[in-house]
Amino acid sequence: MLVNPQFADIIGRMATVKRGHRQAEREAGREADLAPYLPWYRLMVTARRFEEEAERAFRRGKIGGYLHVYTGQEAVAAGFLAAIRPDDIFFTAYRDHAHAIIRGTPPDAVMAELFGKVTGVAKGKGGSMHLFDVARGLYGGYGIVGSHIPLATGAAYALRYQSTDRVCLCFLGDGAMHSGSFHEPVNLAALWGREGLCPIVYIIENNQYAMGTSVERSTVVTNLASHFDAYGIDNEQVDGQDFFAVKSAADRIVAQVRKTGRPRGIEAITYRFAAHGAADLFQVYRSREEVEAQRRKDPILLMERRLRRAGALDDERVEVIRREVEAAVAAALRFAEESPEPPPEALQTDIYGQG
């Protein structure tokens, strides 16, 4: 088997998180009732199918600008979103379609936003990188790498200041960790957390590459979770392709954060099957073999296997879900296609709240 040095390192890192994987299995139990997780499986399948159709729509010229799909990383978003309450909030960067869909935003409205239609979640004025669904706790959707991390940190402070026990999740990529936009607010989070005033979980979606630059070429300390040590923030790593491992860790961490109001960091080791974005045609920074090997650890397949073993899924159910998801995404495409564009007046609305 052809192995390039980068690839070997990834395997190595995966091995260190097997511990979490096994713990999750023990917690979940081989024969335990995994049926409650079927909705999350379905949402992950929906997110996957959505991303595939979004890419096709992009190639056809229906979606403009940038398109960053989450294909291969679904378990990270699902595992954490399954662990929070409806009144909790979360921020992410621009690879945000799956987060919205898994949280429950209708795929219709998400696709319409990608198509730039007035029926989109942001009335067509944000696009792929700026998905907001404040009613469901999704506060964006941001285009500048790392730029949302200070916002999430302040938002967490506000939650405690307002005497609630709501929690804030902040998803970020490995590429964001070297920006001042990461270090400055994380330091503030630790300081405020000392007073119990910063109930935030920083979730590093380490998909190994910041566009074309691997983690190895971005930092000397490739154990990204350990970067939180510098700020005195408890941290850990988890196998991001294993939904149950993520969910198990998330439950524990979210409970802790909710109780103490102190921030936590977690590095979810995952992989991006698709290119970084629409223009990343050749993916010269990694080999096809590496991608192929990673696809064997497809989080949806892994979850499907677990669910089948536990009797929650079988061929028929898988097929039913597949067909229903297909139909839902097709309907979303049609909805987006048929929806109108924003009216010309919309150019000048939502700039100010007053005046």
Binding site: R56, F58, R59, R60, G61, K62, G64, G65, Y66, A278, A279, L281, F282, E337, E341
Partner: protein
């Protein structure tokens, strides 16, 4: 034609790697596409048979255009590769127009008017007064004509450069009295009026005995001496305008603007100058009402307490120098009005009436009229009507 980059609007089919009739599998390379940045292979999105090639090698089409048809197994011919209409209009083939050599036609250099330097407000003033900028000397930088330059020109001072406004020590016996604002305004407006409106003059003599009698009667009835001859003249002049609407008008270039209502100004001499308060809808008011209003306006004018709207909006003016025993005079039209009526005093004179000589009070009234708006015959007929009303004053009530 797939979109391979966010800014890509069109692509070229370089080479087809399959021919119609070939089987294709999902993911198999169908064609080589050239985009603005790179060449890529286009993978098939469906498994089936390549039914038809729609764009030949070398063809350039917009993103989103169909370039081939694949028939799925078991399908009849005629199924399109779904691609939908191309993206919104902005994705149309970008026009690579050659840059027009040189500029497009430069705005034609107009006549010399363009080359005269003048500030915007100076231009506007000149335009409003119908003055040619070419005749004004500019004292601003590089000969720019300023507002002051135009105002100086209008005020009638010689625009010739040799007469700077403030220079030269006055000779011992000359006194330089600065013009008040009011005087400046009068100077400007009267000059303007004489320069622009071609004046002509028509005079009639009016027998005023009956009118004087009416005045006395009215004052007795009212219990106070409030009605004056001028009030009667105002009423008569106003009523007569109803029949001669053309004189209740203004010259407006291409048209004569006839005013729907009759607002009579009457000239009032103040120590500092002349003002013209206005009695609105004068033709509809009774003589006593006119008298009272005129007295009130006059009083407040002397106190300087008139409101701006009481000095504006007049459509016709009456000027009366009767109190100075003047026999007759010709007034200057108050722009933008079309005419002004100047009356002298009602003097006791001998007249010939029915072959015999008798004494009567005779008043001369002179109409100055704007020949752009009216002519002698109409002016004469108007005066005839004024005369008729004053000589039959019961008609004035």
């Amino acid at each position: 034609m797939p979109k391979m980059g966010d800014a890509m609007t069109e692509g070229k089919v370089l080479r087809w790697m399959k021919r119609p009739g070939d089987r294709v599998e999902v993911g198999e390379a169908l064609a080589e596409i050239e985009t603005d940045m790179v060449n890529v292979e286009l993978p098939a999105e469906e498994t089936g048979t390549l039914a038809e090639i729609l764009v030949a090698e070398g063809g350039v089409v917009p993103v989103g255009s169909p370039i081939a048809m694949i028939r799925r197994p078991g399908e009849e011919a005629g199924r399109h590769v779904p691609s939908g209409p191309p993206a919104p209009p902005s994705a149309a083939v970008p026009e690579r127009r050659a840059e027009a050599a040189g500029g497009t036609a430069a705005p034609g250099r107009g006549p010399s008017e363009e080359q005269i330097k003048a500030s915007p407000v100076a231009r506007r003033l000149a335009r409003e007064r119908g003055i040619d900028l070419a005749g004004i000397h500019g004292t601003g930088p590089e000969g720019r004509i300023t507002k002051e330059d135009v105002e100086a020109f209008i005020a009638g001072r010689a625009g010739a450069p040799s007469v700077p406004p403030r220079s030269g020590a006055p000779t011992p016996s000359t006194e330089e009295v600065p013009l008040t604002r009011m005087r400046q305004t009068i100077a400007r407006r009267m000059t303007e009026s004489k320069q622009q409106a071609p004046h002509f003059y028509v005079t009639v003599e009016i027998l005023m005995d009956a009118a004087l009698g009416l005045r006395e009667q009215l004052n007795k009835d009212l219990g106070e001496k409030v009605v004056s001859v001028n009030d009667l003249v105002l009423k008569a002049a106003a009523m007569a305008l109803r029949t001669f609407l053309n004189l209740n008008a203004s010259f407006a270039g291409e048209t004569v603007r006839r005013h729907p209502e009759i607002h009579m100004g009457f000239a009032l001499a103040l120590p500092e100058g002349l003002i013209v308060p206005v009695i609105r809808r004068c033709d509809q008011k009774g003589i006593a009402e006119i008298a009272r209003e005129a007295e009130d306006l006059g009083e407040r004018a002397r106190q300087g307490k008139l409101r701006p709207e009481e000095l504006q909006g007049g459509t016709f003016t009456v000027s009366n120098l009767g109190m100075f025993d003047v026999e007759s005079f010709a007034a200057i039209i108050n722009p933008p009005q079309a005419a002004i009526l100047a009356v002298g005093s009602a003097q006791s004179r001998a007249i010939a009436d029915g072959g015999a000589v008798r004494a009567a009070h005779v008043m001369k009234a002179t109409l100055s009229a704007d020949h752009r708006v009216t002519d002698g015959a109409e002016a004469a007929r108007y005066l005839g009507e004024v005369k008729r009303l004053l000589q039959n004053p019961t008609l004035l009530a």
